[in-house]
């Protein structure tokens, strides 16, 4: 812990759907990873801002050039606008913890940012570039590793961080995870949304739904296995408000991510040293926004039965587990280490 009055340590979990920040000054915030610019003069007059971030951007999307600039946990490619949007998102996160990114009088900011376990080196470089002007020194770590560090689950544990864009796996065996210890799957929250939208269009073609409505429903009622109650939504059908029971569609969409995730979990478990496999199986930790899907731990425990059983738990605070872990890393790194990582 080498924090001084002039330095601020932060952990950032830059997510495809939501981004969270935890700071050493005690501030913690989460925002929807949306950035929008008013499309014209009229829109600018109405929203009274040059750029909107998070829920505010989402709520005013009809007047904005709306961007969701992260894809599978890294900056979307091929568009300068998306890179700009990521910088706006980062500036917004920093401003939420009371720092003016461009201020010359601000103290030093040391940031640990979580990236998908198998992010390409080039994606990491882009992200480092986007942090320029936001922080003074930056460390990039895999998202599940940040979670493991924050929980001190560094030995005989498996972290499965299920976000919107990716599901990231990491087996902690007392050392910094190598490529062999980690996996990234594209089957996560977004693939549930797409599946649910497809099922709705197939089974209720008259229902008028958008992907944003689908995401809201998923956050409220997602489940695997048995539902706590029937899932009913009211949406326009040919303009008329109509109620639809989407329980089966919700289950089908949510359960679509179970096979690939279970398969990868079992594959990684089978690669652990035989004498430690049981300990790891009984220490599987779920994090990330999609870990909140009701019934998920039971489903994965069921998948572990074929290996001899296991225990799956969800972290207390799935949304902040990554950024809290990042903050812990930022605080524990020495001044000399941070000097090597300056931008």
């Amino acid at each position: 812990m080498e924090e001084t009055n002039e330095t601020l340590c932060i952990g950032i979990d830059l997510g495809t759907s939501r981004s969270s920040i935890s700071a050493s000054n005690g501030e913690r915030h989460v925002v929807d990873s949306y950035v929008g610019w008013p499309v014209d003069m009229v829109a600018r007059k109405l929203v009274k801002k040059t750029v909107l971030v998070g829920r505010e951007a989402l709520d005013n999307r009809s007047m904005l050039d709306l961007r969701r600039p992260l894809e599978r946990g890294v900056i979307k490619e091929g568009s300068g606008k998306d890179e700009e949007a990521v910088q706006e998102l980062l500036r917004h996160l920093i401003s939420l913890i009371g720092i003016k990114p461009k201020s010359k009088n601000r103290g030093k900011v040391r940031a640990v940012v979580g990236v998908p376990a198998e992010a390409f080196r080039i994606s990491k470089e882009r992200l480092r570039g986007a942090m320029d002007g936001v922080a003074d020194s930056v460390m990039l770590v895999s998202e599940p590793f940040a979670v493991a560090y924050g929980l001190e689950a560094l030995l005989h544990a498996m972290i499965i961080d299920i976000g919107a864009g990716t599901a990231d796996f990491c087996v902690m065996q007392g050392h910094y995870p190598t490529e062999a210890d980690q996996r990234t799957l594209p089957n996560a929250g977004d693939s549930i949304d797409e599946r649910l939208l497809k099922l709705m269009q197939e089974r209720h073609p008259e229902a008028q739904v958008s992907i944003h409505m689908i995401r809201d429903w998923k956050e409220k009622w997602s489940f695997v296995g048995e539902p706590k109650s029937r899932v009913k939504v009211t949406v326009p059908a040919k303009g008329k408000a109509t109620e639809f029971d989407i329980t089966d569609e919700m289950r089908g969409a949510c359960e679509s991510i179970l096979p690939p995730i279970s398969e990868t979990m079992i594959d990684l478990l089978s690669r652990v040293e035989p004498e430690y496999q049981e300990r790891v199986r009984h220490n599987i930790i779920l994090a990330g926004g999609s870990a909140l899907i009701s019934g998920l731990p039971d489903a994965f425990e069921k998948a572990c039965l074929e290996l001899g059983g296991g225990r799956v738990t969800v972290v207390k605070d799935p949304i902040f587990a990554g950024s809290d872990g990042g903050l812990a890393i930022a605080r524990d790194a020495s001044n000399a280490d941070w000097d090597k990582l300056s931008l």
């Binding site: 894809e71 080039i122 480092r128 770590v141 560090y149 910094y176 062999a180 790194a333 090597k340």
Partner: protein
């Protein structure tokens, strides 16, 4: 117990920092741009003078080289000094009937390899439905291949080490200017129907296959060559004796790729070694191949490609293919593979 946790935290933190510092260093020491990498003007001048001297004094070449066997095609031309006015005699040899060079006549070795990660920068190449870009996959595999080759007694150069836009002409010029012995271009395919998962390795040649013509058109996009250049380049397809070596290299690489990847990906369809007029294969002056290592149109392949282990396997297979070719070619008592100690990871995983 608390001490154990503290020690473990310290250890993993140190490793995390080391990994980041390595990345920062590699970014700060940016590879030179193509213009910077190309030979300086002065050196070009020297090369030109040397080339003229080389052509003007063929006796130097003859006296250094091994005596070619009498049966070797073209042996007559190297046995005696050309008389004055040799250009008249050369002109009498019709260009349309090139002599086939006997490989045994020349002691060839492989010392320098250029790896070419396909596409880059604004040129994404193929993009999977889930958004994975060919340019990122090819760069990742190329960087892995370079790392694996660090212990091999071969010099490795890369046309690009970062996400930058390079025209095909620049890639070709880079390999030629650096006198590379081999050129290996890494690509990822995109094909209809999407169920197929082909593996293909190309060397230079003409083709009548409409699918291959289409593929060549796609890969040759943004080449930087003009129409006149293409005419000149295409003529070389038939005249260039290096084509045979390219074929051998393509065969060893393709065999290693299939042997290794089919164990993980049983549905991989080996379409083997093919000829196609890819610009990078036509313009390069050394044995050159283009490997389409997987298929981004197939989502199962995409899943595998997003797995670092699979990309490592591809790099290892490419390495084995190159070394196997070099071993067969190098006129040396000691094989390249013997000189190079295989990394533990490779021997364990195979």
């Amino acid at each position: 117990m608390e001490n154990d946790v503290a020690e473990t935290k310290l250890r993993v933190l140190r490793e995390a920092i080391r990994s980041n510092v390595e990345m920062v260093r590699s970014v700060r020491v940016r590879p030179k741009t193509f213009a910077q990498r190309a030979l300086p003007v002065g050196l070009w001048g020297s090369l030109l003078v040397a080339s003229v001297a080389y052509l003007a004094v063929p006796s130097l070449v003859v006296s250094r080289g091994k005596e070619p066997p009498a049966s070797a095609a073209g042996a007559n031309t190297t046995k005696s000094l050309p008389p004055a006015g040799a250009e008249v005699m050369e002109a009498a040899v019709p260009l349309s009937t090139p002599h086939r060079l006997n490989r045994a006549a020349l002691p060839l070795t492989v010392k320098r390899i250029v790896i070419d990660p396909g596409h880059g920068g604004k040129q994404h190449g193929a993009i999977s439905e889930s958004g994975v870009s060919e340019k990122d996959i090819t760069l990742d595999i190329a960087l892995r291949l370079r790392r694996l080759m660090e212990s091999a007694p071969l010099e490795v150069l890369m046309t690009r080490e970062i996400d930058e836009t390079l025209q095909l002409e620049q890639r070709v010029d880079f390999a030629n200017a650096n006198n590379a012995d081999l050129f290996v271009s890494i690509h990822v395919n995109w094909m209809e129907p999407r169920e197929i998962r082909p593996l293909e390795t190309y060397y230079v040649g003409a083709t009548n296959d409409p699918a291959l013509i289409k593929l060549a058109r796609i890969e040759n996009r943004d080449s930087g060559y003009s129409l006149a250049d293409y005419r000149r380049l295409l003529d070389k397809i038939y005249l260039d004796t290096r084509r045979e070596e390219s074929h051998r290299l393509a065969k060893t690489i393709n065999a290693e790729l299939y042997r290794s990847l089919s164990q993980i990906n049983p549905e991989l369809e080996n379409r083997g070694v093919k000829m196609a007029p890819f610009a990078v294969l036509i313009g390069t002056q050394m044995p050159a191949v283009l490997a389409e290592v997987s298929c981004l149109s197939n989502e199962e392949d995409v899943k595998l490609l997003t797995n670092a282990d699979y990309r490592e396997k591809i790099a290892q297979a490419l390495l084995r293919g190159i070394l196997s070719y070099a071993d067969k070619l190098n006129d040396s008592d000691k094989k390249v593979a013997d000189l190079w100690k295989k990394p533990t990871k490779l021997s364990v995983s195979e």
